[in-house]
Amino acid sequence: MNGEIAAILAMDGIASGAIYVLIGLGLVLIFAVTRVIFVPFGDIAAFTALSLASLETGGRPGTVGLVAVLAVLATAVEAIALARNRAFHRLPRALLFYLVLPLIPAAAVWFAAGTTLSMPLRIVLSLALVLPIAPLLDRIVFRPIADASVLLLLTVAVALHFALSGLGLMFFGPEGVRTKPLTDAVFDVAGLIVNGQMLLILAASIVFCGLLFLYFEFTIQGKALRATAVNRVGARLVGIRPTSTGTIAYLLASLLAGISGVLIAPVTTIFYDSGFLLGLKAFVGAIIGAMVSYPVTALGAVMVGLLESFTSFWLSAYKEVLVFSLLIPVLLWRSLSFAGTEEEEAEE
């Protein structure tokens, strides 16, 4: 291996790392606010890519059906919960949030199908289409057991991933897709060919990390999210509703996942179940950050990208084996550095 190949591999690794960064940050965000380790998170990214590809070819994305099914289910769950508490006056609001709002982008896409849309419009539509999925799943699946242990929530999340991959196959079919590149620009940096897509991925990753930082530091809503993450009961005492901060966390995180989906779609072929591995690799990064630290998570995600890129050069068949095996020494290191601080687990 010479310097040039190493540089290309490094660039490749950083680019895919940047994508894992976005997903990893979303995972940490959701975990911090809701204590849910949202295993199906990568699926959100994959569904965005699939929707975008479908819009590009003038088709009607399967996401429309998926969102419709979830919206109806969530509305039913919410309506039953309201009826049990005899809180019928809140029904219109529930209908607006769980049925009407999620279905607006779905309806727009439904009617726009067949017409040619500009690229920015396609991207915005795909993002808007995918955004409601995670909050709707939260309402249907996680909110009824919001106070359960992290372990139980994790088990539910794993089961949810398999449900989603089944639904994904149903709504998107088994074909893989790859979208048109977002940019054709190619740069020559000191003799190295750098394509614009990679720079775009990097730039987007950096910009959204920055925005997230500003949001947490300087907005009251961001602070409310951090407060919920630190202590749910305490947050409630000062008037923050954990359910609504949860929804905001899911929306924000979905936006990050959606953007990573848009960025990865032109460089990798995406299938209905590609999200699982995407999400799990981001996870390795998140665990390096112990599921709490945003900057360390970002660093960890870039490391995963680099590892993957270099192993695919030397040992491409064992790429996945190595990435997931990496988790074990990382966990070991984590467990040593956290020795003695483990809180007493509640008995169930």
Binding site: I37, V141, P144, I145, S149, V150, L151, L152, L154, T155, V156, V158, A159, L160, F162, A163, S165, G166, L167, L169, M170, L280, F283, V284, I287, A317, Y318, E320, V321, F324, S325, L327, I328, P329, L331, L332, R334, S335, L336, F338, A339, G340, E342, E343, E344, E345, A346, E347, E348
Partner: protein
């Protein structure tokens, strides 16, 4: 239902299994074979996750390691399947021991995440190693032969599968009803309690993890030689979660739940495969996944206990075996009355900027009751945790029976002869009173996992039971020995903790607010008990808020305030000390 009736029912069940091939169609027997093979792996998962509290998504990987080991050895190297069994079991045990040693120190969800990681890594390994046939797998695996007779039909391997399963079930039940098995059952819900009884939770976890992997290995070996073909797919994480679903359906915390769960899910899977194509031709594969995942989520949301615990409510309860009359366990020789037994010198503990215990020194003498009192936040419980090793000292020295215990682990201190109770009661709610107190004898008894599984521990177990009953008698709970600890009112739970501590035969008994939640008659009983223990030569260190209780009972008192020692002496001296009055009542302006 008596024990005899229970054994008759079990024997009838086994008899039914024996005659099943004569009564059922070959297809039903094939289904029973799958149920048996799944149930073996699920049995391990029940031990590991349901009982031991370590949730694993990766059990399918262990099934796969054994299946691939035997497949490769028999097909590519021409060895006998029995050699494949030995290698499969040893290899799986080794891999599990290494993985466990690395990951089992992790808390709750991190451990479970790591099981996803190695589960996936193993799956991709199977799929990429050329020697293992990559994603095509290994086919034409020979059948198992017994005495030259090949078990190639599903009716013949049926007996082998179910014999393995029933033997595993009985051995697992033996294990849970033994010294180490009780430690496994106590793992759930934090390590401070188990450590305080002299149990090494990491060791118990590791062995449980390996046992679960070995059960998976048996399942994998049988699977490889029954289906005569292995490929990566049946060992993926998605199958790992199917095992979890089975355990959950049957009942995570019950061994028989493994068989019930495996049966229900296998039959359901079979019938779904029948009617799904009718509903949606061409899409049955993904519908099956969706149906199972949704079912799993609903179960997790609404019915976490599973079928077996639910059914047990309607079935007659099997009478517990009465403890046998047996000789006593060895007792320690208590040190001579008046000798210093515990000496704390300059103990200091900081939490960040807060000094919770600041240069505190005192002594406990053999055969006395020493009261440790002080207002809220004085540092009494921190002092307690420093002595028992639950927290490390920043400075100072603690000696017990002449040995320095300042740097020792909690369980070593417990084994040296310090037993404690907790301010917030730490009991396992689903263990009986007898089992709870038996846990206390852990440090005094020696039977290991093998002895427990093979029932070689009965003589020692009988003596431990006799001891436990004696301690229950002492605290007045003997008539409720077979009730569940969680059903006791709080006051009695505190007494139960005292019985558990006494069962460890300590030289020093440390009680953290034992009278809290007791009615006045119960307090009087407790005081009598402590006085009787003192008369026997036991030393007691008591943290308590109830001043009447403390002052009437103790020989001497140490008063702490804001982390420092205020004074010490007999109750009369302490009561008249102006500093104590100021600390408790505020300044006498």
């Amino acid at each position: 239902m008596t024990r005899l009736q229970f054994h008759l029912v079990a024997a009838a069940g086994v008899l039914l299994l024996v005659v099943a091939p004569a009564l059922l169609s070959p297809f039903s027997i094939t289904l029973l074979n799958f149920i048996g093979i799944y149930a073996l792996a699920v049995l391990g998962l029940v031990l590991l996750s349901g009982i031991g509290g370590m949730l694993s998504f990766g059990q399918a990987a262990f099934v796969g390691i054994a299946a691939y080991a035997t497949a490769w050895l028999t097909v590519k190297a021409g060895y006998s399947p029995w050699f494949g069994l030995v290698v499969g079991v040893v290899l799986t045990g080794l891999v599990a021991a290494i993985l466990g040693a690395v990951t089992l120190r992790l808390g709750g969800h991190f451990l479970s995440l790591s099981t996803i990681a190695w589960g996936l890594a193993t799956y991709f390994l199977f799929g990429n190693v050329p020697m293992l046939g990559q994603y095509n797998g290994i086919s034409e695996i020979p059948p198992i032969a017994i005495g030259g007779y090949p078990l190639s039909s599903s009716n013949s391997i049926y007996y082998l599968i179910w014999a393995f399963l029933i033997v595993s079930l009985v051995l697992s039940a033996n294990l849970l009803d033994s010294r180490e098995g009780r430690a496994v059952r106590a793992l759930r819900g934090g390590q401070v309690m188990t450590e305080s009884l002299g149990i090494n939770p990491f060791r118990v976890k590791l062995i449980t993890f390996v046992i679960a992997a070995l059960l998976s290995a048996l399942s994998g070996w049988l699977y490889a030689h029954m289906s005569r073909f292995v490929s990566p797919a049946p060992f993926d994480v998605s199958v790992g979660i199917l095992y979890l679903l089975m355990a959950m359906v049957g009942g995570m915390a019950t061994l028989s739940g493994a068989i019930v769960g495996a049966a229900v899910v296998t039959l359901l899977k079979n019938s779904i495969q029948d009617w799904l194509p009718v509903i949606s031709p061409g899409a049955s594969g993904q519908l099956e996944v969706i149906v199972f995942s949704v079912l799993f989520i609903l179960l997790l949301q609404r019915a976490r206990a599973g079928i077996v615990p639910f059914a047990l409510r309607w079935l007659p309860r099997v009478q517990p075996a009465a403890p046998l009359a047996a000789g006593a366990l060895e007792h320690r020789q208590q040190p001579e009355r008046g000798q210093p037994i515990l000496s704390v010198a300059g103990a200091t503990r900081r939490f960040g900027g807060l000094v919770a215990v600041d240069n505190v020194s005192f002594e406990v003498k053999a055969g006395e009751i020493l009261g440790l009192i002080g207002p809220n936040g004085a540092g009494k419980t921190t002092m307690f945790n420093l002595i028992t090793g639950a927290l490390p000292l920043n400075q100072g020295k603690i000696a017990f029976l002449g040995q320095d215990i300042s740097r020792r682990a909690q369980r070593q201190i417990a084994r040296a002869g310090i037993a404690r109770t907790f301010q917030h009661v730490k009991l396992r709610k689903t263990m009986t009173l007898l089992d709870t107190v038996l846990l206390g004898t852990y440090g005094r008894t020696h039977s290991g996992f093998f002895a427990g599984v093979l029932r070689l521990d009965r003589a020692e177990e009988a003596r431990a039971e006799a001891e436990a009953m004696r301690q229950l008698q002492r605290v007045g709970l003997a008539d409720r020995a077979f009730e569940l600890a969680g059903n006791l009112p709080l006051g009695n739970q505190r007494l139960l903790e005292i019985a558990r501590a006494l069962a460890a035969d300590p030289a020093l008994l440390m009680l953290d607010e034992p009278a809290a939640g007791l009615r006045s008659a119960e307090k009087a009983d407790l005081a009598h008990l402590l006085e009787a223990l003192r008369a026997e030569g036991l030393s007691i260190l008591l943290v308590e808020h109830d001043m009447d209780f403390v002052m009437g009972l103790v020989d001497r008192t140490v008063v702490m305030d804001f982390g420092a020692k205020l004074c010490e002496g007999t109750p009369a001296v302490v009561r008249s000390d102006p500093r104590v009055q100021e600390a408790y009542l505020g300044g006498v302006a």
